[in-house]
Every structure is written in C-alpha cells, then in structure tokens.
C-alpha cells in the first residue's frame, strides 16, 4: 500500500478548494488521509496523477466527492436513540408545535431519513412534519431519493427496527425488486432532498430538530466549532440538535448555549440565542 504525507494532502485539499470550491482543508487528518489513499488505490493513481485528473476532468470531482465522503450507515442506527426520539424528544416538540421542521444534515444514502419517516408515520404525524435532507455529494443524494437498497442490508436494518420496538412490521415498508429493497415513496411525502455544503453553505432555514450524526467526526475541532455556530443559528430557541453517540461538543465556543438533554445519545437543546 502506498503512503501519502501531510504536504500532499494539503496540496489536494487546497487544489479542490481553489478550483471547485469544496473545502476539505479542515477535515480530520487520519480519516481524510485514508479516504484519499482509498481513491488513489481504487483508481490506481499517484498523487500527481490524481491532481492532474482533478484538473483536467471536472466530471471526476463528483466521483471523487462520492468516494471521499463516508457513506456507511444503517437504518435505526443506535435503536435506543430512536426510542428516545419517539418517547421524549418528538413529544416535547409537539407540546408547543403541531407542525415542525427537521433537518438531516449530511443525510448520505438516506437511511436516517427513512428511519425518521417510518417513526413519524407510526406516531401518526408524518403529514405534520417537514423534512429537509441535505448532503454535499449529489450522487449520494440521487441514491437517497431512490430509497432502494440491497436486500442483504435489510437483516441488520430490521434487527435495529425490532430493537427500536417499532409498532409495525418492517417488511411492510418496502418491496423486493431484483435483489433491491425499494421503500414506499409515500414515506417521503414531506421530504425534500437538497445539495448543501455544511462547511461553505449558508444558513437556509430554521428548524425544530437537526440531526447530524457521525458527520462532524470527519472535521477537525476548528471546523466543528464553525459548524456548531451554523446549527445554533439554524435552530429555534428551545429546539434540538442530535449528534453521534461518541461525538462531543463540550469544547466548542457555543457549547454553553446548549444544554444536554440526553448524554448517552448526545441530544442537545438550544437554550440561548
């Protein structure tokens, strides 16, 4: 396996920023390095050949982004998180709002969005919730919209759903077609998928709940700090932010504008503007 040094990684992220306006300069080094090495191996490219290809072939950037971003996820990941959502967080939001908005920031291939829609449907409130699902990677957004996944993934997803104690039957939410589990599009009735860049993108709306789980782990602390400011601005006062179970925001400047609602599942509530 080849290796790559920090100077070359910086060359690559600087080049992509200058030419394509995607900013990976503040990504966490260890995982960014693995992602770039993975692409170099997959495409059989040296650092110089990779830079050359990025320069000469603008179409390659989408493929590059698709491989660079981590798109490994599962439905109802951390079932206990989803139980807390259903039993504590969503009811708390409903106390004050009959209708509300959720942002899935970094939605990847859409498993979390489907999980949310299934949960809301089982709670009988799917029609009252507006969901916006965003990702940097346009290819993955297309896959998320299709809501079609290899059937072999369903065993794990269903296990998670059972641990979550869903009230329906998981298999009723999809049909099998040619080895793919195709989810019922009615689940997406209030979902819009949009391209959005957490690092360089603007604040575009205000939300009652933001889910951004296992996304900021790919950022360094300086960037986590900046993104938390954006989330803070994108949340109504007394609304919620959920991050991954092993993430933490305690070192961020804006940490004191949030309180911890559930430390185990890393659910925070904005208490100060």
């Amino acid at each position: 396996m080849q290796d790559i040094d920090i100077a070359d990684l910086k060359r690559i992220s600087e080049f992509i920023y200058q030419k394509y306006n995607y900013d990976f300069r503040n990504y966490a080094m260890s995982s960014f390095k693995r992602r770039v090495l993975r692409i170099m191996e997959l495409k059989k490219l040296s650092v110089d050949a990779l830079l050359k290809k990025l320069n000469e072939s603008p179409a390659f950037i989408n493929e590059f982004l698709d491989e660079l971003t981590v798109n490994v996820t599962e439905m109802f990941r951390d079932p206990n998180f989803w139980r807390i959502m259903r039993e504590e967080i969503i009811p708390a939001i409903l106390l004050n709002h009959k209708q509300f908005k959720i942002w899935h920031a970094g939605c990847s291939s859409g498993e979390e969005v489907i999980s949310m829609c299934i949960m809301l449907k089982e709670m009988g409130i799917l029609h009252d919730v507006t969901l916006i699902a965003t990702d940097l990677d346009v290819n993955i957004l297309e896959r998320a919209k299709m809501a079609s996944y290899p059937v072999k993934n369903m065993e794990l997803n269903e296990k998670n759903y059972i641990r979550f104690q869903g009230t329906g039957s998981f298999k009723n939410y999809y049909k099998e077609e040619n080895g793919m589990a195709v989810f019922n599009k009615d689940l997406f009735i209030n979902v819009s998928f949009r391209k959005h860049d957490l690092v360089l993108g603007d604040i575009f709306n205000k939300f009652d709940l933001i889910l951004c789980r296992n996304v900021m782990i790919y950022f360094n602390q300086a960037l986590q700090n900046e993104v938390l400011k954006k989330f803070h601005e994108s949340l109504f006062k007394y609304s919620y932010l959920a991050i991954g179970s092993k993430e933490s925001l305690i070192w961020c400047d804006y940490a004191n504008r949030f309180i911890v609602v559930n430390n185990e599942e890393k659910i925070y509530k904005k208490i100060k503007d």
Binding site: A28, M29, R34, N214, I217, W251
Partner: protein, 197 residues
Amino acid sequence: MSKYNLNNSYKAVVIGGSAGSFQGVVKILSQLPKGFTLPIIMCLHRLKHVRHGFVEALSIKSVVQVTEPNDKEPIKKGCVYLAPANYHMSAELGNYFALSTEEMINNSRPAIDITLGTCAYVYKEKLVGILLSGANRDGAFGMKQIHERGGLTIVQEPTECMIDTMPKAALAVTKIDHVLKIEQIVQFLIELDKQYR
C-alpha cells in the same frame, strides 16, 4: 538490568486483540502497577451493536478505569482507552483520538489495523504495539507499520493463544521483537513502567 533494553522514551502502548484475548487483557489490566504512566490504547474486536457492558467488564478487575473515548478526546497519560463499538478509532497528531464510521476493514469495525497504524504514525519509535489472540488477520498490517516506524512489536506466544491466527499473521508479515506469554507481557509492562519512576 532489564532483558528488554528499555528506556523511558516510550509514549504509548497500543494493544490489539480478538477472539480469545479477553482473559489476557483482563489479566494485563489487573496486574498493571498502580499509576501506570503511559496511556494504553486498546482496540479489541467486539459485537458491533452492543455498546454497553464491555468496558464495564474490563474495568471490574482493572487497576485503571477503562474508558471509551469520544471523538477528539485528548490522549492522556495514565489512562486506558478502548475503541467504542461500531467506530474505528484513530490517533491523531497532537495526541487525541478521532473516531470514524468508515467501511469495515478485515470485516471489523473497530479495526485493529486502523488503531495500530495511526498510533504508529503519531508515536513513531515511541510506541509499544502488542497483538494478542485472535481468529483473523486484522492487526498484522498495523504491527508492520509500527515496526517500520521504529516502534517495539510484541505478540502473544501463539501456543498460549486460544486462537493463534492473529499473532501468526503478524509474525509472517513483519519483524516481531518479542513473542511473550501474558505473564511475560505483564512483567514487560512493569519493567517499562519502572523507567518512569
């Protein structure tokens, strides 16, 4: 004089293990000298969807409380860390952890190769890598990286392992400085710790 030719330049100990390593790890952690100086960073294969219980089970007899670090948590002296379920755990320059949910490696998440390899990158010749019993080849490449960057490599004596695939894989791909039984690994760590007293 110690037979291991030790000095006090080591900055961390990293341990990888899989099937059959639990008893060994418990033994090591229970016999560490009180106030063991170096951070111990452990990546042990575990059930992906069971977040609780493992760290508690390891802590029962351990001299030091074992913790599963959060993303970006600093790596501190005298602490014992365990890679959390369903996350890869890397060391980063600047002495902190970074977690990730990337693809499984060697059918594992956490993967031992990632923890060992990134520790090798951060600590270079100041790292002690220990690979215990296990049923697959995860960790062999990480041990190679530790050796290539000048760190010290130790594997559990294969005849003592419940399953010897893992230490044998490491022995096949790189130079291993010491092949030791658990009891000897404990003695080694005690000797190592004396350098800092």
